[in-house]
C-alpha cells in the first residue's frame, strides 16, 4: 500500500465518520479541527476508524499526528505492519 492508497482510504474514512464535511474543499495540510470544526469526539471517531482500517494501534500521545489528512497519511505509512 503506497501513500496515495493511504490518502484515498483516509478520505473515505473521514467522509464516513463526518459526511457533513465539504470534502471537495479539503486542504490536506491543514488541521481538520480548523477546517471543519472537528471536536474531540470527531477526532476520536477518526482515530478509531484509522486504527481499525489499517490495523495499527494509536496511543493517545500520537493523536496529534492525525491532525491533518497529510500528517495522518504519513503516520499510517510509518506504522503500517510489515507486508501490508
Amino acid at each position: 500500500m503506497d501513500i496515495r492508497d493511504i490518502r484515498t482510504r483516509l478520505l473515505e474514512l473521514l467522509t464516513t465518520i463526518a459526511p457533513d464535511i465539504d470534502a471537495a474543499h479539503l486542504n490536506p495540510q491543514r488541521a481538520l479541527r480548523d477546517q471543519f470544526d472537528f471536536d474531540s469526539m470527531d477526532a476520536l471517531h477518526f482515530a478509531t476508524a484509522v486504527s481499525e482500517a489499517f490495523g495499527i494501534d494509536i496511543p493517545e500521545r500520537d493523536y496529534a499526528s492525525l491532525a491533518s489528512l497529510e500528517s495522518a497519511a504519513q503516520f499510517v505509512l510509518s506504522h503500517l505492519p510489515a507486508g501490508a
Partner: protein, 388 residues
Amino acid sequence: MMRIEFRLPSLGADMESATLTQWLKQPGEHIRRGEPIASVETSKGLIDIESYDDGEIVDLVAAPGTLLPVGAVMAHLQVEDGARAAASPEAPAASAPAPAAPAPAPAAAEPAAAVAARVRLSPAARRRAQELGISHETLAHAAAAAEVLHIEDIERLAHAQAGAPGDARAAMRQAIGAAMARAKREIPHYYLGHTLDFGPAQAWLAQYNEPRPVSGRLIESVLIVKAVALAAWRSEGFNGYFRNGRFEPSAGVHAGAAIAVRGGGLVAPALIDAHSKDLPTLMREFSDLVSRVRTGHMRSGEFTAATITVTSLGADGVDVLYPIINPPQVAIVGTGALRDAPWALEGQVVIRPTLTLALAADHRVTDGRAGARFLRTIAELLAHPQEL
C-alpha cells in the same frame, strides 16, 4: 380501540415547522411507543420522530416533501382505549403538540379572528395573521411557546408556513435566535464561575485509556457531563423545567450535550439518565449521539428530553463560556478550554491543567448560594474521577 391523530411534535420552543422527508411506517403496520414513524427535515437537521403510542397505522395524511407546521396532523393511529392517558412523559419540552387528552379537532379553516379570542395577539399581529391566512393550528402552537404573539412572530410563521426557501443555515440561526431571545426575555439568569485543577481527572483518564484500543477510550467531555449530571442529581433546583409559573423537578438527569453542527449552529440532544450510567456506557451513547448529529439520524425524543445542558467550546475554546439557559430548563453549565496555568498548591506555584466552569441558572428557582454549592459539587466530583 380508538382512533387518534399523530401530529408533528415540537422539538423545542424554537421549532415552527418541518418538511416530511420519508415515512418509516406504512398503513396496517404496527408501531410501538418510541419507535420512529417518520423522518423530517428541520432547522436542526434530519430527525426521526417517534410515536407516543402503541398502535396500528390507519392512514398517512401528509405526503413526503410537504412542509408542515408544528401540530399538523400527519397520520392516524388506532390505539387501545385510554392508552393516550399515559402518553409521552418524556416529551415535556414540546410546546403542547399533542394534548394528552385529544381535544376535538378544531375546524381547519377557523379564522384567525376567532382564534385570537384564545391566543393572545397584539392588534397589529391579529390583522397581519388574517391578511396572511395563518392557520389556526400554527397560531395556537406558536402561542403555546410565547405569552403574546407580536407582528414579527406572525411574519416568521408566514415564512415557515409558506415553505419559503432560505437555506438550512439561516433556518438554524433563526431557530437559535428565537429560543435564546425567549430565554433572555423570560429567564432571570444569574452567573457563577469556578476554576478547578483538572489534573486528577486528566491523569485518571490517561491511565484509563493507556491499555485500551482507541474505540474503548474515554474523552474529557464524558467525565464533565457525568460530573454535572451527578451534581444536578444531588442538588435541588437545577434539573427540570420551569413551566406554568413553577419549577418542575425531573427525577432523572437527562443531560443535554451541546454539539456543534458544521456550517453553523448547534443542537443539544439528551443523554438519558446520565447520572446513573457508568462512564463507558455514557461514552458509547455520547459517541452515538455525535455520529447521528453528523449523519442526520437524530431521534425526536432526544431533543425534548434534556433537563439540564452542558456546553463546551472544546480545545479551541477560550477561558470562560457564559452560557444561556435553554428554556424550559433552569440551568446550563459551560466549560472553557482546558489550559495549563499557574496554580497555587500547598504554598507553591505549580503549572496545572485548569478548567473554568460557568453556571447560568434561573433565579426564579435558585439563588447564588445554591448555585455555588452546585458548581463546587461538580469540581469535587472531577477531583475524584474514580468515583464517577
